[in-house]
């Protein structure tokens, strides 16, 4: 298993205005599964290709177990990249596809047959070895692509949006499969995704990449509830930003003095809290607002309310939202643990 280190990677595609990678640094521990999360066009797929050796960076280092691999061609790196589309070879059946890498290494036929059968079993595709790619469903194709990588027992597995081409119910199943296989094999895995939920479920840690560099890295819940800056908060659907000043465990702003959780940054800044964290009723940090608009969004209802020219949005379940009518005053509680301060914004 391999420890991956990215050091200050820079890359600008020819003719592009903004760099695809901008001082990207990242460390993925031995046997860890890291989810690289970001909107489309943030450079996450480019990063995977640089690690796999398919593109050379303009500057910076890629290290496997501390050793630079930049001089190695893709086929000699300990990393295998699984493409978003699966990229099964159309002229080969499933067995030949899965055995491709081993054949390229000129392994003995018997060993190949054995390891391919084993890999197909791992992804629960026993008995489909003779099928051609066009006879497979989307989920099966993705599993073949996964088996084709796993059969090589790589030190580092790079997955590019492995679930994006699947239906919702298949996605859950595939997610569990990837998670289980990663635990079983212990292969260091970097999975790229644009889906927050996917990142939170798959990754031991989540790294949020915006504009070619990592903005924050940590457990999923940390990124959600303790964003490092405004862009991170916005990416995770944050919409409440209240300017003010944090000092002595409290935040002074247009809403009054609000109690802050332990270790919140001090100084001038912006208070943020997730819309679904707001509760109705009395208690600590309770404020009065006037409801402006309610919008039904399926499972939840989005309520916009205002006080002293400051707007807050809350997402509430049907029961809690029922009392809110436009034009009415309402009491909202902003739970202390849900508040966070973005310093210097």
């Amino acid at each position: 298993m391999t420890r991956l280190t990215l050091n200050d990677l820079h890359l600008r595609h020819p003719g592009a205005e903004r760099p695809a990678l901008d001082a990207l640094s990242l460390e993925v521990g031995n046997g860890e599964m890291l989810a690289l999360l970001g909107p489309s066009g943030c450079g996450k797929t480019t990063a995977l290709r640089v690690i796999a050796g398919l593109i050379a960076p303009d500057a910076g280092e890629v290290r496997f177990d501390g050793l630079s691999v930049l001089h190695l061609p893709p086929e000699r790196r300990e990393a295998v990249l699984v493409f978003q589309s699966g990229q099964l070879f159309a002229h080969m059946d499933v067995t030949a596809n899965v055995g491709f890498g081993l054949r390229m290494q000129r392994r003995p036929k018997r060993e190949i047959a054995m390891r391919v059968a084993e890999a197909l079993e791992q992804v629960q595709l026993e008995g489909l070895g003779h099928r051609c790619p066009h006879e497979l469903s989307g989920g099966q194709r993705q599993r073949v692509a996964l088996a084709r990588a796993l059969v090589l027992k790589p030190g580092l597995l790079l997955l590019d949006e492995p679930l994006s081409s699947l239906d919702a119910h298949l996605r859950t199943e595939m997610r569990a499969l990837i998670r289980r296989l990663q635990r079983e094999t212990g292969i260091t895995t970097l999975v790229v995704t644009h889906d927050q939920e996917e990142a939170a479920v798959l990754g031991d840690r989540v790294a949020l990449m915006l504009g070619g560099r990592i903005h924050q890295i940590g457990a999923g819940a940390t990124l959600w509830n303790r964003p490092a800056d405004l862009e991170v908060a916005r990416f995770f659907g944050g919409c409440n930003f209240i300017p003010g000043r944090s000092s002595g465990g409290a935040f002074d702003c247009a809403l009054g003095r609000l109690a802050l959780p332990h270790a919140a940054p001090a100084g001038e800044g912006c208070l943020t809290l997730r819309p679904e964290a707001i509760e109705t009723g009395e208690g600590e940090n309770a404020v009065t607002l006037r409801v402006i608009e309610t919008r039904f969004e399926g499972l939840l209802t989005r309520i916009t309310a205002e006080v002293a020219g400051l707007r807050l949005e809350a997402l509430m379940r049907a029961g809690a939202a029922r009392g809110a009518m436009p034009g009415q005053d309402i009491r909202w509680r902003l739970p202390r643990e849900a508040l966070w301060v973005l310093p210097g914004v």
Binding site: L54, F83, F89, R103
Partner: protein, 265 residues
């Protein structure tokens, strides 16, 4: 269109295409065929015996033509596949100009091209030789190969190659195990095209070969000019051979029902 009408129109087309060839076929097996006879009075296989007699030029010409066409097709594929890949896969400055330049030999008359090249080949000592003729046959064959192959590559997903590299394939292994199988049907079609185009060259063979390199079209013109209708008939039938065989082999691909062109993804 009803199936019957389609069948009828198809038959009419075949008749229209085959009819002009019929007299040639008959001449090759006729003895004394004069106006106003509709069919020859006497049938014979003598012209064919003559054509393949020990002193005849025809067997040699058949071998030379085949050799030249094979060599020209192989060379055109060797040059045309990379060129077609570049045109089909990448966008670059001046691409339209390059495409026009590649198409030019098809538009410019062969005699003009041939005379120009003759001067160059003379200095290089390539005139009056089979290698010279093979090289000059690239002028009409290469454009066909490039355009068939660029069409094939336009539908080819080069990401498959990146995937193969990441799975541990060296560049040559990628070429052999990933690219070639994917474009193989296109190679077959382009190669057959090139073979046929070279096979039926007359002007270029005559200009560069200087009459020393004797191919079937050269003999055919000579015999037809000399009024030897029986030998011309035999030669015409021989010249048709590969075309018909190839047509039978790739008819499905050419009508677009097959996978050969543009079906690699």
């Amino acid at each position: 269109m009803s199936p019957r009408l389609r069948m009828l129109l198809g038959l009419a087309l075949i008749v229209a295409l085959v009819a002009p060839l019929l007299p040639l076929a008959l001449w090759s097996v006729a003895r004394g065929w004069f106006f106003p006879q509709i069919l020859p009075a006497n049938w014979t296989i003598e012209p064919w015996m003559q054509a393949f007699a020990p002193r005849s030029e025809i067997p040699g010409a058949l071998a030379t033509t085949t050799l030249i066409a094979l060599a020209a097709a192989a060379l055109a594929l060797g040059l045309g596949i990379p060129a077609g890949r570049a045109l089909g896969l990448y966008r670059f400055r001046g691409k339209a100009l390059v495409e026009l330049a590649l198409l030019a030999p098809v538009i410019v008359p062969g005699i003009a091209v041939g005379l120009g090249i003759h001067g160059v080949f003379l200095r290089l000592g390539l005139t009056n030789s089979v290698p010279g003729v093979v090289l000059v046959h690239l002028v009409p064959t290469l454009p066909y190969v490039i355009f068939v192959m660029s069409g094939v590559f336009a539908n080819y997903d080069a990401e498959a190659e990146a995937q193969a590299r990441s799975l541990g394939a060296k560049p040559l292994q990628v070429l052999w195990h990933v690219m070639l199988p994917a474009i193989a049907p296109g190679i077959v079609v382009a190669g057959l095209f090139a073979f046929l185009v070279s096979w039926s060259q007359y002007i270029l063979t005559l200009t560069i070969g200087g009459g020393r390199v004797v191919t079937l079209p050269l003999l055919l013109y000579a015999q037809a000019g000399a009024g030897r209708n029986d030998q011309a008939g035999v030669l015409a039938m021989l010249s048709l051979g590969p075309g018909l065989v190839i047509l039978a082999l790739v008819a499905r691909q050419l009508t677009g029902r097959g996978m050969a062109i543009g079906g690699t993804r």
